[in-house]
């Protein structure tokens, strides 16, 4: 359940890019890690018997999370009506921790429910602000962001003013900064609107000059606020993207590159794969040298071995006559296939097939053995079962052939997977399979 909760929180936060977490770096100074939600969730303490009311709360929460993940919004909202009875909880400790849950869960439901309207959303969040005063600022910011993403810039701005007028001890400085950051985002969107209004023809028009000036002022406001907030350690994805967009429009590539570099490589920032992705995309847009691109992706690979950019990384590495890059590509592909999301991807299997052939060509079959050593216990069941062979042959023939090639090489041509594919595909592609068998017999790795 905790995992679910964690994921839920993660998605909520990612979507709203709500990065105002005071709890960071409580545990270890200098290494900002958010507290695990386990510590925040009130659990039935060992030894003390859980009351029926709390049991209902626990199970209800679990079922709501389940419904959310299965996208059963109606069921989730029905359960939510029950869950709201916990607002009447009398214990102060529990009350505090559950306020955030009401808000997060309710927002999640209202955001996705097909029949919810923006008015529902507004009234819900207004109520939430009243019960969880501790979260007032967070709720205001998130509310404003939601309004912003619905194009209601005016209302979003009003929410920010509300947040600004709210005072609480200790938070004033950061509060101001956060609000200014969101202001910057709002300015950016106004700027985008103005830019879009300025059509191609108007760009050279005399009357458009005032509009351009207008844009310029929004640009200045936005860039000041955005750059200020991006300097703070944290995860600021939408802010960063907006800022990069702004700078690119005015051709200030150096500043953008500098900012993206800081965002990705500064140790004060929490590790964030997206930072590297943005940097890579920026570099690619501006035709950066091959070496730089590879360097960024290499770091991304360490952070997220299953990232979708890894295929691109492999194609970058496929430089002829460079032995060490073949080795690296092989490693990347093998670790990609450790993840079930890539299990039936024809491109990965295809490039693995190609890379293996390349590796054989340069005579470094030991690399393959090295990769295989740690995987031979579980890959046969994970990838190369007879059932999967039948299934992929029926549904996804290119994958089946590539996989059969790999399986034959790694496990020998007597393995179930290869045999099944060989038998099943003999009629359709006899020559290719025969060639494959020949190749496998010549280059067998299996003991």
């Amino acid at each position: 359940m905790d995992d679910l909760y964690e994921e839920l929180l993660a998605t909520v936060e990612q979507e709203a890019s709500e990065r105002y977490d005071q709890q960071t770096s409580i545990l270890q100074p200098g290494f900002p890690l958010p507290l695990p939600p386990k510590l925040q969730l009130p659990h039935s303490r060992r030894g003390r018997k859980e009351s029926g009311f709390h049991k209902t709360e626990r199970i209800c929460l679990r079922q709501i999370l389940k419904a959310l993940f299965q996208h059963q919004w109606q069921k989730a909202s029905a359960l939510m009506t029950n869950y709201f009875q916990n607002i009447e909880e009398t214990s102060y400790r529990r009350q505090r921790s559950s306020c955030e849950r009401f808000w997060r869960l309710g927002t999640e439901i209202l955001r996705h429910h097909p029949r919810s309207k923006i008015d529902d959303f507004n009234s819900f969040l207004d109520r939430m602000k009243n019960i969880g005063v501790k979260n007032y600022l967070k709720i205001c910011l998130e509310h404003s962001f939601h309004l912003l993403s619905n194009g209601m810039l005016e209302d979003a701005n009003r929410q920010l003013s509300l947040a600004e007028s709210w005072r609480c001890k200790d938070t004033c400085a950061t509060q101001q900064q956060m609000i200014q950051g969101y202001r910057g985002l709002l300015d950016y969107y106004t700027w985008v609107q103005k830019r879009d209004a300025l059509t191609e023809t108007e760009k050279y028009d005399y009357t458009a000059a005032t509009a351009k000036q207008d844009m310029q002022s929004y640009f200045r406001q936005a860039s000041v606020n955005l750059s200020a907030i991006i300097k703070q350690p944290g995860v600021w994805d939408p802010f960063v993207l907006s800022y990069v967009n702004l700078l690119e429009f005015y051709d200030d590539h150096d500043a953008a590159l500098q900012m993206l570099n800081d965002y990705a490589y500064d140790n004060k920032f929490p590790p964030n794969p997206n930072a590297h992705v943005y940097l890579y995309q920026f570099l690619k847009r501006h035709q950066a040298p091959w070496r730089k691109l590879v360097k960024v992706l290499r770091i991304l690979q360490l952070l997220v071995p299953s990232h979708e950019l890894m295929l691109e990384f492999c194609s970058l590495l496929a430089v002829p006559d460079k032995r060490k890059y073949h080795h690296e590509a092989l490693k990347v592909l093998f670790s990609l296939l450790d993840y079930s999301s890539w299990k039936d991807n024809p491109d990965v299997w295809n490039s693995l097939e190609k890379t293996i052939q390349l590796v054989f060509k340069v005579g470094a079959s030991a690399w393959i053995k090295e990769e295989w050593a740690s995987r031979k216990d579980w890959w046969p069941a994970f990838h190369f079962s007879a059932y999967q062979a039948k299934k992929s042959l029926a549904e996804n023939a290119p994958v089946a052939y590539s996989k059969a090639f790999v399986a034959g090489l790694l496990l020998g041509k007597e393995c179930k997977y290869f045999k099944t594919i060989y038998k099943g595909g003999r009629k359709k592609r006899p020559e290719m399979l025969k060639e494959m068998k020949k190749y496998i017999t010549n280059h067998n790795l299996a003991e």
Partner: protein, 589 residues
Amino acid sequence: MDEEDTRDYREPCAQCSEVTWGITDEGKFYCRSCHNVIEKTKEVTTADSFTANARIFSISKGLRKKTKLEQGREWYLCEGFQFILKLQADAIQALGVCPQFKDEILCSFWRRYLQKSRQGYTKKPLKDMMRIIKVSESSQSSDSQSLDCWSSLSESELEEGQSDENSGPASTSRSRSPLSDDFTSVCSGSVDGRFHRPQRQRTRMLMSMPMTLAFCSMSLLWLRESITLSELLRFVVEGHIPYINVYQSFPEELKLYGKDTHIFRVDSFPSCESIQQHIYKIAAFLDLPRFPEITENCVLHPNILCIKYLMEANLPDEIHSYIWRVVKRTGMGEEASLTFDPLAKPMIPINYDIKAASIVIVTLKLIFKLDDEFEWSLSNDAESVNRNKEGVEIFNFRKWYKTMKQALDKANEGVEEDVARYMWQCKKPIFYSSKTRSVVVKRKRMVVNLQQQFKKLTGSVPRTPQQPPSSFQFTWDEESQDKPCFHGHSLRAFLKEGAVCDLLNTGYWHTALKQCRKEYCKGHLQLEEPHLPRSYIFILNLFSFMLKVDSALLHAEVHETERLLLKAKAPTTPSGKRRRRVLHLIPCL
């Protein structure tokens, strides 16, 4: 009310010299005969009569007026409990128990309780005794010394004295000290709610919510009704018997406030064991005689109760003959060991349902061995026989397991859904003190608004309406495909060829039989579970679901039954069962 307040004021009227005082709406005194209003208010009177305590009154004066507005009439906790008991008794009566239940049995238990705890129906209520002490003490000292007298009593004694003064409906007829009236009105809606404390609950058997159910269960036991304790609790959970938030249906005049909320509000369903403990205590407290005997014709007798569980667990009827033997061998069917006697030492346990379930489980272990091997291999045999032959179908353990597993999983899901959707909060907000009132009311309004908002989004999610109360949670049908019935199946696959009732199974496994002290032993099953066969664990879970008791408790009871069974000597007659080969699965823990 007026009389109580004016009784202490004995001055004649200045105009007509009569002594018939009444109190106006503003709380002022007036003469009933000449309607002359004098400059005297209720509070002043009390201050007059107890000059020593004037300070206390001046403190409570301000509060009193406020609470006066909210309060209905003055009432005692036992009135509230009586009301709850009446509701529960009506609900149980509606389930179809014998009509004597409410008016004769429960009522007389309740009266006896009131009498024994000296809350009512007694010439010498508890408070009177305390009053005598108080009066004797205060009479020794003159009026001017009364302050010393009060202060010489420790605070607890002071409260005790007051609580006793107020601890019975009988006291309304007697002049009550206005002092206590003031005190109680501050802290609780009821008169004696303030003095209801957990420590005292133990020593003096003060009422609590679980005790209402204990009273009901005890009355059912006296009548030897078929509703077992676990069943009663299930009806409570399913809402057929009022328990959670019953105070909602209190009459308007009984206002809950302050301490009362803690007494009448419950946030859990009680467990079987806790109710049993209450029954033992109440029965001992009431000095009840031996309960009517549980003979073989009673539903609570294991022989009969087991039939019910066999039916519910969808097991063949044939098993009953083996159950009958186990009951006989273990001596668990004897009246002496079944009939509840509050005065007997050691206490005779009254968990008939759990006992019966444990007997069924032990019998199943005897027949199917339940060691994850024997029952499955014989199921294969049964399957092949069934395929070839027409006629009475032979019981197939595998098929039964699949059916039951499916039904149990589904039922568990349903129960979980019900738990998740249970509404614990009542519709009417109750609050501990007037200070928190505004917060509570505000929160309640918020909840209602939020619930309305989300209800709109709910749409028409099909929700099964409340089922009528039933003794069975599982029902089986001969005809239906997904709920096939195994009652008529024969056990032939598990018997020796040609024999009438000789079992094929000759082995019997059990866990270490050493008796452990109950208070130290709680996680027995937890420790043993990984070593126990899965089919046994499944059956344990099935029965614990049916009875709504913890599986560890049931396991302990099975253990107890095994002890009785194995302690009994092997029969001397050659036709009896062979001596079992005893396998010690876990020699010791």
